[in-house]
């Protein structure tokens, strides 16, 4: 199966985003990425005035600040209620490295 030009990049990006994709998905994802990047490349054509300031957020006011005041935390049972795995005190996750290679 020949690589699409974007496929090696998709592989790398999928790793960065922690998303497992199989061969088929990598291929179709690469094609779609290429297609979309082709579409958005029109942005390159736009000439920007020199001093244009990027607009990152849709609100440009400042200073949304709260006082350093304690608020009751959420009870642990409630917070852990949605956890895929917990022992009632902690969230549990698989070990950082495979048990076999430790």
């Amino acid at each position: 199966m020949p690589d699409t030009p974007e496929q090696p990049i998709v592989n790398q990006v999928a790793r960065l985003a922690r998303i497992h994709l199989d061969e088929q998905q990598l291929k179709s994802s690469g094609e779609k990425l290429e297609q979309i990047l082709g579409f958005v490349s029109q942005l390159e054509q736009i000439e920007l005035p020199k001093d244009v300031i990027p607009f990152f957020g849709a609100i440009e006011s400042v200073n949304a600040i709260r006082d350093d005041q304690l608020q009751t935390s959420v009870p642990r049972e409630k917070i852990l209620d949605n956890a895929p795995e917990s022992d009632g005190e902690f969230y549990l996750v698989p070990p950082v490295f495979k048990p076999t290679d430790s």
């Binding site: 790398q12 790793r15 960065l16 922690r18 990152f56 957020g57 609100i59 440009e60 006011s61 400042v62 200073n63 949304a64 600040i65 709260r66 006082d67 350093d68 005041q69 304690l70 608020q71 009751t72 935390s73 959420v74 642990r76 917070i79 852990l80 795995e85 022992d87 005190e89 902690f90 969230y91 549990l92 996750v93 698989p94 070990p95 950082v96 490295f97 048990p99 430790s102």
Partner: protein
């Protein structure tokens, strides 16, 4: 100015490399210090920052990154950051913003850390540190920046567990951290330690953090490499970031170890900064070595971008002025005061100042009250500090008020109490929380009048003819024996006065 740095690596240099002595290598050190700010609530939510509570008992939808929850910045964290910045001579930003640092880790709930990338709250500054250099001149360590960010939680890798799962506690998640970054201006392990000690002291003085290193309230990473002179040029070894330094000793030892390791590595393989990327190594307290940390190939790509959930913070000139006006005197100023105005030796001044503002104030009041700063220093530097150390108390908990202490020292200075009796009195004051007057009464100390003293001396001479003879024949030291005996007969007799009277009566 740094010399030009040569990045090449040719085999022909191999022989030359072996001849360079280690001492010619210059160690280049930069520090990144994470300080936990002393707020009640977390940086972006109202959960408590208290240490040591039951796991996951101090979290909410915001700090566990629940879907839809949003952050709101804590006013006090901003204030403490500005206070720190001002104390480190930093430029304070008039406008600062928030960025996301994206990476995956199970104790990082949102999959990103809210931090500050290109507009840190504190810009360039500096901190002067005392060094052991012969010149006695302080060294100036430049600070690049200090930015606010949220802490991650805690992962506990439980290997005893069969299933080998890791446990996650998010109590610490979202605690405010100020990350202080220095320029690579530090040149020795001792300087690194001195920098951290001074920084910690300042943070204590300005009430920004208790800097408890065991609790992780002050954490340090060190960037280390060497500049080695070779045939008129400087060779730079690859930069290593040493992580997990949670004591001053670890900082000192790891830098010393790393410098040696890098030097030997370079002698062996000639690898320079141009040949290898920055490496992350961890300090192992058991083996006393740094070891390479396993890294993911993409770990460096944090994809910083402005956090769209937060808006910019504008800091007004008036706010900075107000915080500046409330700043306390910093350790360096106080040391100078003690040396210049109170005539203390620099080392003595450093000891007093290192104990914190409370001890300094205690000293200043006592020294002013008894009008003798040397005596005040001797007594506070030794007796008070020893007691605080042994009892693990603060000066605020010390049972002797500065007024009572002053009264005691006045008696010592006047000669009413000698050193030994004075210390007995102090011990009684500490033990029973009583005044010097009461202690003196309790110990049965009375002043001894002149006729009593004469009678005492005559009795001593009668009972110790042979000693008197020895003294008369020129052995003046023998008088000490008589003073010892005088003390037994009348503990209130001032040994100085006894001695003077005896020598007058014996040798006339």
């Amino acid at each position: 100015m740094e010399d030009s740095v040569l990045n090449s690596n040719s085999n022909s240099q191999s022989n030359n490399r072996q001849t360079v002595p280690f001492n010619d290598a210059k160690i280049i050190i930069g520090l990144e210090v994470h300080v936990q700010l002393d707020t009640d609530s977390k940086l972006f939510c109202g959960c408590s920052t208290r240490f040591g509570e039951a796991a996951n008992s101090q979290t909410c939808v915001v700090c566990t990154g629940m879907p839809g929850a949003l952050p709101v910045i804590n006013q006090r964290a901003l204030e403490l950051s500005i206070r720190t910045g001002l104390s480190l001579n930093c430029r304070i930003a008039r406008s600062t913003k928030w960025d996301r640092k994206n990476y995956f880790y199970p104790d990082l709930p949102k999959g990103y850390q809210i931090s500050q990338f290109d507009q840190p709250i504190c810009g360039p500054g500096h901190l002067d540190i005392q060094t052991t250099e012969a010149s006695g001149q302080p060294r100036r360590i430049r600070i690049e920046r200090a930015h606010l960010e949220e802490d991650a939680g805690k992962s506990i890798h439980d290997e005893s567990n069969d299933r080998q799962s890791s446990k996650i506690d998010l109590n610490r998640t979202g605690t405010p951290l100020l990350e202080i970054v220095t320029y690579p201006d530090i040149r020795t392990a001792a300087e690194a330690k001195a920098f951290l000690s001074e920084l910690k002291l300042i943070l204590n003085y300005i009430d920004v953090s208790d800097c408890n290193m065991q609790q992780g309230n002050l954490r340090c990473d060190a960037n280390v490499n060497l500049h080695i002179p070779l045939r008129g040029q400087q060779i730079a070894t690859p930069i290593v970031e040493i992580k997990n330094l949670n004591s001053f000793r670890a900082v000192e030892r790891s830098i010393t170890f790393e410098a040696q390791r890098q030097f030997e590595g370079w002698q062996e393989n000639g690898v320079t900064i141009a040949d290898a990327p920055k490496q992350t190594r961890g300090w192992n307290d058991h083996t006393q070595m740094t070891t390479l940390q396993r890294e993911k190939e993409d770990s460096a790509d944090y994809r910083y971008f402005p956090d769209p959930d937060l808006i910019a913070v504008k800091i007004e000139e008036t706010q900075i002025k107000q915080i500046r006006s409330q700043l306390v005197q910093l350790p360096a100023i106080l040391r100078e005061l003690l040396v210049k105005e109170y005539n203390l030796k620099p080392d003595d001044a450093a000891v007093i100042v290192s104990q914190g503002r409370g001890v300094v104030d205690y000293f200043l009041t006592v020294a002013d009250g008894c009008e003798n700063s040397r005596v005040a220093n001797n007594w506070i530097g030794q007796e008070v500090l020893r007691h605080l150390n042994e009892s693990n108390q603060t000066i605020q908990q010390y049972p002797v008020s500065h007024q009572q202490f002053t009264e005691l020292l006045k008696l010592v200075i006047a000669g009413t109490l000698d050193q030994t009796r004075g210390k007995e009195v102090l011990n009684a004051m500490v033990e029973h929380s009583i005044s010097s007057e009461e202690a003196i009464k309790q110990l049965g100390i009375k002043s001894v009048d002149n006729s009593e003293l004469v009678t005492l001396c005559e009795t001593l001479m009668d009972e110790n003819q042979n000693v008197v003879e020895q003294i008369r024949s020129g052995n003046e030291k023998a008088i000490g024996m008589l003073i010892g005996k005088a003390r037994k007969k009348n503990p209130n007799a001032n040994p100085g006065l006894v001695k003077a009277m005896l020598s007058k009566m014996i040798t006339g």
